[in-house]
């Protein structure tokens, strides 16, 4: 067993057991994220030094770089962190819920729901991807699909296997609808929709940050508190019931949390795939822990992946600003092969 710290309240009513390794890894990742964020803020088409960035952050009023750093780059960096973190945690919750290492928001149809709604909206209005209404519409799509999946998979409670299969089927139908709308749209709208579908943080604004943040502020701590029930479920349904876990109630709660986290993230950043799939696996490679300990690590890894992917897309091909989703897929593919290797080794 790894070492752990136990914190208790004076009357022993509340206690928290903290794994030392989890704490250290979380801390290390947080520091890495902070350094990476400052580096990402420093680079761009207008060159700025590391010290300029720190100076601007410390004293915005006296800096002529305030516009570039605080209004253009900072919201984008924060969005990358929030969206990546939300997707990483949603993936962790779903993989625990379905008890399958290959589940993720994009695989079971949540992302497709948001995509179909967003493309329908773009097609009807012919508006640009920066319209204020696009995000709420996409989130509505994600929740509608989650509702349909639950309704179709419900037979005296949710069975994870049926949930996945129904999600896969709905995702296929929705992808067909999305393709249909793309083909029917004029080329400019279709291209715009395609960039949204790949996932891009281009032109993120402060109002995007303030709209997305509340979802995380509510859902993330709730997930952190409740995730211990997922550990009970991972030992099997009978064991979870025996331990006094409200099995179906918690499944529903975790599904809602995963949809809220993934749906809000996708609504503001477009259909970024793979983070939900790979971030939880990377977290599991770093620490051995229950879901509660994995949550902060998976979120931080998700944030780091998207931050770097967006950074590469923004800086590597100046003057072109490429969608971060391309580079996330680029990181996702090698990891997929690694996952394959691991599964094979486990078989031997």
């Amino acid at each position: 067993m790894s070492r752990s710290l136990v914190l208790r309240s004076p009357n022993d009513r509340w206690s928290v057991k903290l794994n030392v390794r989890v704490l250290l890894v979380t801390l290390a990742l947080a520091v890495l994220l902070a350094i990476s964020s400052v580096l990402a803020l420093a680079s761009g088409s207008h060159p700025t030094s590391f010290m300029d960035v720190l100076g601007t952050l410390a004293n915005p009023a006296q800096s002529e770089l305030a516009l570039i750093i605080l209004e253009i780059r900072l919201p984008r960096v924060i969005m990358a962190i929030l969206v990546g973190g939300a997707l990483g945690s949603a993936g962790l919750i779903l993989q625990g819920l379905v008890r399958n290492p290959l589940a993720s928001p994009d695989v079971i149809g949540i992302t497709s729901g948001a995509s179909a709604a967003a493309v329908l909206f773009l097609w009807l209005g012919g508006v640009t991807g920066t319209s204020l209404l696009l995000a709420p519409v996409a989130m509505g799509g994600a929740f509608t699909v989650a509702l349909c999946i639950t309704a179709l998979a419900w037979q005296q409670g949710i069975s994870p296997a049926r949930l996945v299969l129904v999600g896969v089927g709905l995702a296929a139908a929705l992808t067909a609808v999305t393709t249909l709308l793309l083909v029917l749209s004029p080329d400019s709208t279709a291209m715009n929709a395609y960039i949204w579908l790949t996932g891009s943080l281009y032109a993120s604004q402060w109002h995007d940050v303030t709209a997305l943040a509340p979802w995380l502020v509510v859902c993330w701590p709730l997930a952190l508190i409740k995730l211990r029930h997922l550990d009970a479920q991972s030992m099997g349904e009978d064991m979870a019931l025996g331990l006094g876990s409200a099995l179906q109630g918690h499944r529903l709660l975790f599904l809602v949390l995963a949809v809220a986290l993934a749906g809000s993230a996708v609504a503001y950043a477009g259909a970024v795939g793979f983070i939900g799939l790979i971030a939880p696996h990377m977290a599991r490679r770093l620490v051995t822990s229950g879901h509660t300990g994995l949550l902060p690590i998976a979120s931080l890894i998700g944030a780091l992946i998207l931050l770097y992917a967006d950074w590469i897309g923004r800086v590597a091909f100046i003057p072109r600003d490429l969608p971060a989703g391309i580079f996330v897929a680029g990181i996702g593919a090698p990891f997929f092969v690694y996952l394959l290797y691991r599964l094979r080794r486990d078989l031997g």
């Binding site: 008890r99 399958n100 290959l102 589940a103 993720s104 994009d106 695989v107 179709l152 998979a153 037979q155 069975s159 994870p160 296997a161 049926r162 996945v164 299969l165 129904v166 896969v168 089927g169 709905l170 995702a171 296929a172 139908a173 992808t175 067909a176 609808v177 393709t179 249909l180 793309l182 083909v183 029917l184 080329d187 279709a190 291209m191 395609y194 960039i195 579908l197 790949t198 795939g273 793979f274 799939l277 490429l322 969608p323 989703g325 391309i326 897929a329 680029g330 996702g332 593919a333 997929f336 996952l339 394959l340 599964l343 094979r344 486990d346 078989l347």
Partner: protein, 334 residues
């Protein structure tokens, strides 16, 4: 279900009749309608001056042949995969084989400037084989063999991987937007007959091998130990069928891009009517698959003229409800 030889033979004749009707409709209906007399004349006595003759000869004929080949190929591949994996949800679309082939075709078309299907088909085979390999290994679970849900998830994850790569290429290569969207959406139109013909020998060979393996396929539904006891070389038969699936699905994708769900629904329909004997199931899947794709393509032309709905969208909208129905009733093995 039809059981006697007579009933099955007459059932087959009915299906062939449907195929004929679908073929003629595909030649006749469209933005410019062609009468039956005109159709006969254009085939027997071609007059390049007539608009109808020109439409039938240059566009509709190749389009119909494409739909025939692709429909038959995908449906047979689906029937083979459902037997091979003992999974009712298996099909080249669901298990990622089509997406793998599509991605390699897109790479061949954009990065290496390959254009003719006879060049692209080898890219498609490579992609289909890669995807099949990935899904096969990802779908296995330590010590417990292959689980249906796990295999489907592996297939969907592999599909997501290849589709997102193709979308990435699409955004990097905006000047090839139309051409890549063609592969992603799936379409049987705009293929020259001359370009398809070189693919046919290998395709027909694969179909023939599948038919010759019918008896072995019938045994594959049994327990592995029983099959070995009956003297079947399980590994070799599986490998051969895997190759046949890759050729059939790869050829279909190289010609028409991503067309989903034909491989899923047609074998279920054929099995519902003719039972699980592969000597009937495989040819009937091919016939019904061709009929379904021809019908879907014909309807896709007529819904919102003058525009066309991509045929892959039509088949997905038809197939997704059936998939949901199957998914709700599949035994939860995981």
């Amino acid at each position: 279900m039809l059981t006697s030889l007579l009933a099955r033979t007459s059932g087959t004749l009915v299906c062939l009749g449907l195929l004929l009707v679908a073929t003629v409709s595909s030649l006749v209906f469209g933005h410019i309608p062609v009468s039956l007399d005109m159709l006969a004349a254009s085939l027997m006595d071609y007059d390049p001056g007539s608009l109808e003759h020109l439409v039938v000869r240059t566009e509709r004929f190749s389009r119909t042949v494409t739909a025939l080949i692709v429909g038959a190929g995908l449906a047979t591949a689906g029937a083979l995969m459902q037997t091979l994996t003992r999974n009712p949800l298996a099909s080249p679309g669901i298990l990622g084989i089509n997406a793998g082939a599509m991605f390699f075709v897109v790479v061949g078309a954009t990065l290496f400037s390959l254009t003719s299907p006879s060049e692209l088909v080898w890219a498609a085979f490579t992609g289909a084989a890669t995807a099949a390999f990935l899904v096969y290994f990802l779908g296995q679970q330590a010590g417990r063999g292959v689980s249906p849900v796990r295999t489907v998830l592996a297939g969907v994850a592999v599909t997501a991987l290849f589709v997102s790569f193709a979308q990435g290429l699409l955004i990097l290569n905006q000047d090839r937007f139309e051409s890549i969207l063609f592969w992603l959406a799936g379409s049987v139109s705009g293929r020259e007959l001359e370009a398809i013909l070189p693919l046919l020998p290998l395709f027909c060979l694969a179909l023939l091998i599948a038919l010759l393996l019918s008896r072995q396929l019938n045994l594959l539904g049994l327990d592995d130990d029983v099959i070995r006891g009956l003297g079947l070389r399980v590994g070799q038969v599986r490998l051969l069928i895997g190759l046949v699936v890759i050729v059939l699905a790869g050829t279909s994708v190289a010609i028409a891009g991503l067309i989903g769900f034909v491989g899923l629904i047609v074998p279920h329909i054929a099995r519902g009517i003719f039972g699980t004997d592969h000597r009937w199931l495989l040819p009937l899947s091919a016939i019904l698959g061709a009929t379904l794709l021809l019908a879907a393509d014909t309807v896709a032309r007529l819904v919102i003229p003058p525009q066309e709905i991509p045929v892959g969208v039509m088949t997905a909208l038809l197939g997704a409800p059936l998939f949901l129905h199957l998914a709700r009733h599949v035994r939860a093995v995981s």
